[in-house]
């Protein structure tokens, strides 16, 4: 219900099943998710592989930002502006058993993704600063931001499971391999 022109054109998303994420969102999401697990927990720091994975995340972040401007309606930044007020209202609604249908990220998820992107940007920026430009003073910031990414990722997983349970919408399926038509099945 954002703009008048919006209401008269474009596909209508039946609200009951949640957002059917497009392939660009899915690809960038899973490459970043895999990279965070690999670089944060498994791959040895200061290895060449660690750097390569970092570049891949930078690429996904850049692609997602581009997609946030030219992408599908639900993927565009304008569909999920960060708002503490809306997030608070949404949380209160959840406590009362309300699950308003979402056309993009829900208001809490929106704050989460912006925090995640910001943290990733810091991790990548400091990583490149150390690796390419030999600015080793950035190591502490790199570590702190990387830990923040892991905390946000854990919170994200908890949030998705909780929201899926409460709303009955399988959010995980909407981000994985499921393709569906927008009509009845």
């Amino acid at each position: 219900m954002s703009q008048p022109s919006d209401t008269l054109s474009g596909p209508v998303i039946p609200p009951s099943k949640g957002v059917n994420w497009d392939p660009v969102v899915r690809v960038t999401h899973w490459v970043v998710a895999l990279s965070v697990v690999l670089n944060g927990l498994i791959v040895e720091e200061e290895s060449q592989l660690h750097n390569w994975i970092g570049y891949a995340v930078l690429a996904m972040l850049a692609l997602r930002v581009l997609w946030g401007i030219v992408g599908t309606e639900e993927a565009r930044f304008s569909s999920f502006p960060p708002s503490l007020l809306k997030a608070k209202a949404y949380a209160q609604g959840m406590l009362h058993g309300e699950h308003p249908a979402q056309r993009s990220h829900n208001p809490i998820g929106s704050l989460m993704v912006y925090a995640m992107w910001g943290s990733l940007a810091v991790v990548i920026g400091t990583g490149i600063g150390m690796e390419v430009f030999d600015i080793y003073e950035m190591e502490d910031i790199h570590e702190v931001a990387a830990n923040l990414v892991l905390v946000l990722a854990a919170a994200h997983v908890c949030g998705v499971v909780l929201e899926s349970r409460l709303s009955g919408v399988n959010l995980i399926r909407n981000m994985t391999i499921r393709t569906r038509s927008r009509g009845p099945e």
């Binding site: 609200p15 392939p23 690809v27 690429a59 599908t72 390419v132 009509g183």
Partner: protein
Amino acid sequence: MTEADPRSNTHNRKPGAPSRRAGLLAALVAVQAVCAVFFVVDVTADFTWDGADVHTAFEAVIAVALVLGVIFGALEIRRTLDRIRRAETALSIASGALAEVIEAYFDRWGLTAAEANVALLAIKGFEVAEIAGLRGASASTVRVQLAKVYAKAGVTSRTQLLSVFIEDLMGEDLIGK
């Protein structure tokens, strides 16, 4: 290469081939984005350490080309997805899902239960007096509710309200370019 064939959508119930094409395109653009990032970082590093030379300049051209490739790739994916979604909307209407689509529009417009009921009856062709009779309300109440429906839908008449749904049925080809 990225134009979705509309026939594959109208003949099969599932969005199969064009959807897979969009997925493949997304994966390709993702790989291209990784290459672009590598070249951009490499060029920046070379320029910082070695200054501008032929090698750096050549790499810079590649970097710019890759970045442009990613941007145009993303735009192509957007077009393909839009096409798929239009086809799906048309298909779901053709499959007798008009009621659900109307409901989804009502939901989007934020109609109250009473307004949605009045709007549905209006779309079905009932006159104000008939709607009032069916709902056990006064004609003036129905008229006010109908006016609210028009305002929320951004239309000015019952015909226009109906055309919101008819537009989806006809598709872009009939509207013509």
